[in-house]
Each structure stands twice: as C-alpha cells, then as structure tokens.
C-alpha cells in the first residue's frame, strides 16, 4: 500500500506539514506511483504530537468525510462522491509534491532513455543499415561472417528498440500513477510521542538548536534537515562566535552634532 507520511511540525509561529523525502533520489516516489498505477489505494498518514490537536476533525461535516476513531488514531475516508475534498487535496499538493515529482520523474526518464534513444537507428544516413551494409559485400568471400553481419544489421536495432520501449513503458506507468494519486485515498491521523517532544522542545529558548540535535536520538533523524537550516539562519548558535564586530583600523568618533550631520 503506497503511503505518504506528513509530519505536523512547529515552525516559528505555527504548525506546518512536512513530508520527508530525499531531495534528489526519486526512486522512493517512483515506487509509490507505480504501486498506485497497479491499483493500490494511497494512504496518507498524518503524524501529530498530540491527538487533541486534531480533534476538530470529528466535527467535520459527515457528507464529505467519514471519520472513525481508533485506539490512538483517526481514520478519515473521503466519500466517493465528495469531489470537493479530492480537488481540495489536489490543489493543496499541486505546488509542493506533485510538480516536483512530475519534474523529477520526467528528468529520470530522459536520463535513462538517453543512451538507448536511436542507438542503432535503422533509417537515415547515419543509421545502422547504411553504416553496416558495405560489410555484407566485404564479407562476401567469407561465408562465416554473413550470419553475424545480418545479426548486427537486423538483430541489434530490433532489441535496442525493445529496450527503449520497455523503459518508456515503465516511466509511462509511473507518470500515470502520479496522475491517479488521489483517485483512491484514505487518510489516517496517528499520535507520535517523539514528535510531541520535538514540538515542545522547539518552542523553548534556542529551540531549533536543541531540536536539531535531538532528532537523531528520537529516531526522527530525517527531520534534522528541516530544523538545521532554520537554526543557522535565525537563532543564536555556536557559529555566531565567528560573527564579531569589525575591528577599526584607526579610532573614530561618532558625529555628536546632529544638526551638522543632518545638513
């Protein structure tokens, strides 16, 4: 069952949803979309620190979503005819996950097919037929070379084309899976103790520093990249000791006469 994990993290002033994935290894996402293409339902799992944060979900209108409360989680199922919910999800995710994934899958497709594209193309001046046909005549006196030559002229381009087509079909399936991402969807909210600790810690003094260090020992090491840049940019950290006031080459005095200065 393909899954999308969303983590509800505290960032600066309010909460934000974060979906951990590797910035340039797209394989994990391709697996997800291929599974969706094969007909499996997508499961979105929202991880929250405390269950109370999302209790308002129970009061949502029942004609859009069915909310079932389990031991420590909510299970949300959009109704089959609630196109609004699906559209809402799609719009929300279009600019974040969808566009990035579509771009990366397309890029990966071209990377993989580049080597095979027209490698032994049959037609054209530089085609295999035109390049190799002379050796049919050159090898005329050596009959043992004839079958090998025909294999090179007919066999190689045929199998190379098959390789190319297989690759194209593979990536086409993944792209179609991406398009069907929200066709069959379940949504689940689960409670995460480690996340609660992170969300509490980040609101303390020097919170981002502490949280970035805590992530690994809390088993959420993949969230460190989320906190670490924020630490560098906004908080007092150990790197701040390199930021010292400039040392003047010669002493100067501030202009005391403000009137003169303003003129």
């Amino acid at each position: 069952m393909p899954k999308i994990h969303l983590y509800k993290l505290f960032n600066k002033e309010s909460y934000t949803l974060f979906s951990p994935h590797h910035p340039f290894f797209v394989e994990e996402r391709m697996i997800r979309y291929r599974k969706i293409y094969q007909g499996e339902a997508t499961e979105v799992i929202l991880q929250v620190g405390r269950k109370e944060e999302v209790e308002y979900l129970l009061s949502l209108p029942q004609d859009f979503l069915t909310v079932t409360e389990e031991s420590s989680s909510f299970l949300l199922t959009p109704k089959m005819r609630s196109q609004e919910v699906i559209e809402y999800c799609k719009r929300g995710i279009l600019d974040t996950l969808y566009k990035e994934d579509a771009l990366m899958i397309n890029d990966e497709k071209h990377r993989q097919t580049f080597y095979h594209y027209g490698r032994f193309r049959i037609r054209g001046f530089y085609g295999i037929l035109h390049r190799l046909f002379p050796i049919v005549f050159i090898m005329h006196g050596i009959p043992g070379f004839q079958p090998m030559t025909w294999d090179m002229i007919i066999g190689d381009p045929y199998f190379e084309d098959r390789t190319y087509l297989e690759l194209l079909q593979h990536y086409q399936a993944i792209e179609m899976g991406l398009a069907e991402l929200f066709e069959n969807l379940t949504f689940r909210v689960v409670e995460n103790t480690a996340l609660r600790v992170l969300n509490d810690t980040v609101q303390e003094e020097e919170g981002f520093n502490k949280t970035a260090r805590l992530c690994t020992s809390l088993g959420l090491g993949f969230l460190k990249d989320f906190y670490w840049p924020a630490t560098q940019a906004t908080e007092h950290s150990e790197w701040k000791r390199f930021l010292r006031p400039p040392v003047p080459l010669f002493p100067w005095s501030e202009p005391k006469d403000e009137k003169k200065h303003s003129l």
Binding site: M1, Q47, S71, G144, V190, A194, R213
Partner: protein, 248 residues
Amino acid sequence: MVLPLKIAELGKRAPRRNAWLLEIELYAPNSPWPLSEGEKETILSVFENQIDGFLYRLSFYERLGRNYRFMFSLCLVAYIIGLFSVNTWWFIWFRQPYLALAGIDNWWKRKKVKNLERCRKKRITEGQDEQRKEAINAVFSFYTHLQEAERDIVRKLIAFCQEKERENPAFGEIRKIYQELSAREKEQSFLLQSIAHTPFKKFLRFFLGDILLLPEVLIPRLIVPVRNLSLDCGVLHPEVSHAQNPSL
C-alpha cells in the same frame, strides 16, 4: 531496530499466494515511554521502503537484462549457422558472448525474493511471545548498565546473549541481530559501495563497464534507527554542549 530475517529468508518464507499480508511483530523493552503508534508507522514505512526499493531495482534491471539475454539468442542462431558453414568458426565468439550472462546475478537475487512482490499490505503489531519479551528486557537492562563504559558495546551484548542462549532461545535471535549490526558497521555505506571510488574498482569499471551493462543491485540490510528508549520524554533537557550533533 533490526528485522531478524534477511531479505532472502523473508522471500523464502513468503507465501506463493497472489495477495498476502506481511505482519511484523514488534518487540520493544519495557520503558516509561513506549513506542507510540506514529513511531511504529515510521518504522514500518522504513522497512517497507527498503524492501520495495530492492524489489523495484531488481525488476527494473531485470526488464533490461532479460532483453539483453534474449539478444544473445539471435547471436546464437548466427553462431550455429556459422558453425556449419565454415571450418574456422571460432572467430564468431568475438561477437558479444557476454550478453548471455547480462544481469544474471540480478535474476538470481530476484528469483529468491520474487514472492515478496505479491505482498499487498504490511502491518506492524505488538509481539506477544513471553520468551522474547523477557529476553529483550534483559538485554535492555544490561545495555543501560553498560552505558558508562561506552566501548565495544555490541561485542559485550553479543557475549551476554551467548551466555543466556541455552536457557532462552530468544537470546540467540537477538545475538544474530547484533552480529548483523556489527557486520553493518564494518562494511562501507550503501552509497559508497555503489560508487567506483577505489583504484581497483575504477580499473574494473573502466574495462568491464561496457561488458557488464547492468549495475549490481545491492542487498539491503533491514535496519531502522528508532528512538532511544532510555530517554525520558517527560522532562527533556538535551545537552547543548556539542559543537555539532555527534551523529555527524
């Protein structure tokens, strides 16, 4: 956290049914802050990613490998015709004989884990076996007392498990897991293994790169980092004294 079965063993134990459910039993030591449902889901998803990634790479390269091997079949026809038509037939082996073996190692790996592809759903539950629970609690308390020494922890844990193995076979399972962990510590990272960074590997890749055609799919060890259960999540005052995270 480690899945006690290697991925090949997991494939061997998988049923041949078309759609089946993989249920992972989780054994964690007793602690004031047990693993919550979200954390279990995270653990499951990491295992899932490791297994599915392996299967995906195998099936992807198998599509190409199968085609290359099939390509050799036409060569073979040519060879047989050449064999009957001329006396000096040996030169035909100059033509791509390696295609017969392209991706054969991946095919062999895939054969062993192919049943896992038909798994439709994976689930994680609490394990109920008393012996295992007892063993993991004993190992955890041993570990918490070890922390002051901070040297050769894994080796000491293996020795501890070996001592208790006769009384309780669950200790044997834990010992195998620690051996797996120490083996993983010694070997190079997954990324480094796949890159030709040593002179020998560079040499091989340069001369055999065209011949091998398909990259080797590396077998993952099913290991997931989890929360340190000895941390107290109620009152947490983390150390700020490191210049950087020690894990870096």
